[in-house]
Amino acid sequence: MKKIGNYFKDFGQAVVHGDIWVKLSLVIMGAGYFGRKQFVRGILMTLLEVGVLASIFGVFAPYLSKLNTLGTVQREEVFDIVTMKKTVNDYDNSLLILLYGIIAILVIIAFIVLYLQNIKAVYRIQKMSENGEHINNIKDDIASFKNERFHITLLTLPSIGVILINIIPILFMVCIAFTNYDENHQPPSYLFTWVGFKNFVNLFTTSQTITFGYAFIRVLIWTLVWAVLATATTFLGGILLAQFINHEDTKFKGMWRTLFVITIGIPQFVTLLLISKMFGDNGIVNTFCSNVGILDFFKNIGLLNAGDACIPFLSRPIWAHITIILVNIWVGIPYQMLVATGILMNIPSDQIESAKIDGANKFQIFWKITMPYVMFITGPSLIQSVIGNINNFNVIYLLTYNYQTTNMAMANSHANEVDLLITWLFRLTNEYSNFKMASVIGIVTFVVCAALSLLTFSRMIGGDKEGVYR
């Protein structure tokens, strides 16, 4: 609070104590620079001001004004059967109103901040010139972007990309959760509008007709179990495999590595689809198992009922869950092995040497030196990979896209036992156009991820571990 107070206090002081150039900058943002002969800066700043204001009033204003209702005029068309032409009224598109409205708000906020900063900067320059200090010319400015402001040079473009591709869409979808955007309210032909927290209430409701609450809990649990298991198994497996291949006794290291990496080379949607066919109820693996007698063996030990015609690798809960984890190991280990190989080769060899001299055995070296080192480098990315697995669409969707649930309560909310939150919301949007519930699920997924990582990551990058290996 106090910080914000100071922020505006500085601004007020700048306005009050500033000279004519500073005051002129309140209207023409470049004026303050012209006064100190910083012409390039002045021109750029003024152009920016004109551009932003023009876009706000020229493009965004009509959308912004309708943001509170998301539009009121529904599309109406009249077809003239004689001229065979169609006339359409000037209708509102809720989707565009929301999207442009969000962008407009972002632009306005950014502009206000820039405006305030600008006055302060101009005032600072005024003071500097009063004190007779050196004022940067354009050459100095450019040079500063290679040195003390190098981070700005580095981060500007990536940040713009992130805002465009990441932040705006996220804000947009968060807003959708508070609207009634579903198959009965689809723009451009129909309007949707704000409904408050109704959709969130639905998600946690369980009744005979609304089963979202029931399905949600089950999907959430499986999502978390999956994310932890998938990450742990592939991470450990990858390191062990990399260690194994890097071992001094292993010949043809490159060949072994290549053999595993080939599986990365072929896209997941090809390999996973093949695997889902192989493990299907009528797939090769089942044919093989019943020929060899594994099917009967499973029946004898009670894993399957006597009436089952096949091993339900991907078509029954538990069986499918286990198959998915195993297949994911198949998918994930080569990736992890690659990462681990790169890292393992950079392990400070002096540490290992000295540990050997101290008489440490291989396991001790692995757990005491290798693992901490690997954890240090990949630790933060490990949380990311748990989060990545929570959002791992490919493996689950491609393996189980034709999974059919026998659980009626699940089916009634279009979910099934092997769904992650992400695949569930994908099908809700893609097949049922239920964007509002999908958004709610998306937000919940996000909250889960954020909570998980808050617990751990503050220690990873928040602590002062960054310098340990320097």
Binding site: L99, H151, L155, I170, F269, V270, N346, I461
Partner: protein
């Protein structure tokens, strides 16, 4: 003697593992030679062998399948997104690792949080943003889409940069090098293995994506599609029975550039060993 057995055992173990890993790939390869064009779930090996599928793949584009065009489109998109996103990742990682600027930790935390939002959900909004910019159905639009948010994936590389001694950085500064020079002349060359990893990853993402591209490319002319989109489309109910062998051929061919990429890049991994020179 015991040692020899151990080594042999080690290799047998690796061979078994590799065999398991390669079974599906092997099935893929033999299916490409199948006379039967649909999926056959009952046999591992095709009943009759042919090379016709490859001929169809390369020389007989039709309304549903146009592999040469797909390959070209995917290659262009892949290479450019890979360039842009690798640069973004390297820049972001360097800024966060070496430069102590105001708000650095806050920005890092913020970027981590951003990465947690399910991307599948924001696709619709991305589509309309591209539409607003007039970039749907264009290669440029897809490149922006794939590389735009790549800056968020800086963590692994930053982890690696963090192991480069600050003394090196400081020494260079004392000699009057600017941050830009240190970045380009010292840090980047030192980090080749991890940069290679970054590059491969940035290439794989657009090369293999089929979810996003399905929404973003509206054209229904097969010549405008990317490889992943086109191949995935062949699995539609109406087509899979005609094109499964074609699909397998295509899948195998996708793997070729990746494999080549990896074989070339592999020496960098090995060089990673001499990367120990950094410490010296």
């Amino acid at each position: 003697m015991k040692k020899t057995w151990k080594i042999v055992g080690r290799h047998i173990f690796l061979a078994v593992l590799a065999f398991i890993w390669l079974i599906p790939i092997f099935w893929l390869v033999v299916t490409t030679f199948s006379v039967e064009k649909g999926i056959n779930t009952n046999h591992f090996f095709p009943e009759q062998w042919t090379l016709a599928n490859y001929h169809q793949l390369f020389f007989e584009p039709d309304a549903a399948a146009n592999f040469p065009a797909w390959f070209k489109n995917s290659m262009i998109i892949g290479v450019f997104s890979c360039l842009v996103s690798s640069i973004f990742v390297i820049m972001t990682a360097y800024a966060f690792s070496f430069i102590e600027f105001k708000g650095r930790k806050k920005l890092m935390s913020f970027s981590l949080i951003l990465g947690m939002f399910p991307g599948v959900l924001s696709m619709i909004a991305m589509y309309f943003i591209l539409k607003m910019l007039g970039l749907t159905d264009s290669v440029v639009g897809l490149i922006i889409l794939y590389s735009g948010a790549s800056g968020l994936g800086y963590l692994i590389l930053k982890g690696f940069f963090d192991t480069i001694p600050t003394s090196l950085h400081e020494a260079a500064k004392l000699e009057g090098a600017s941050e830009a020079t240190i970045f380009a002349k010292i840090v980047v060359p030192l980090s080749k293995p991890m940069i290679v990893y970054t590059v491969i990853n940035s290439f794989l993402n657009p090369w293999m994506d089929f979810v996003m591209v399905r929404l973003m490319i509206k054209s229904k002319d097969a010549a405008d599609w990317t490889m992943a989109l086109g191949l995935f489309n062949l699995l539609q109910r109406a087509l899979v029975n005609q094109y499964f062998a074609y699909f397998c051929c295509g899948g195998l061919m996708i793997a070729v550039p990746i494999s080549i990429l990896f074989i070339i890049m592999q020496k960098f991994y090995v060089e990673g060993v001499t990367g120990g020179a950094v410490k010296g």
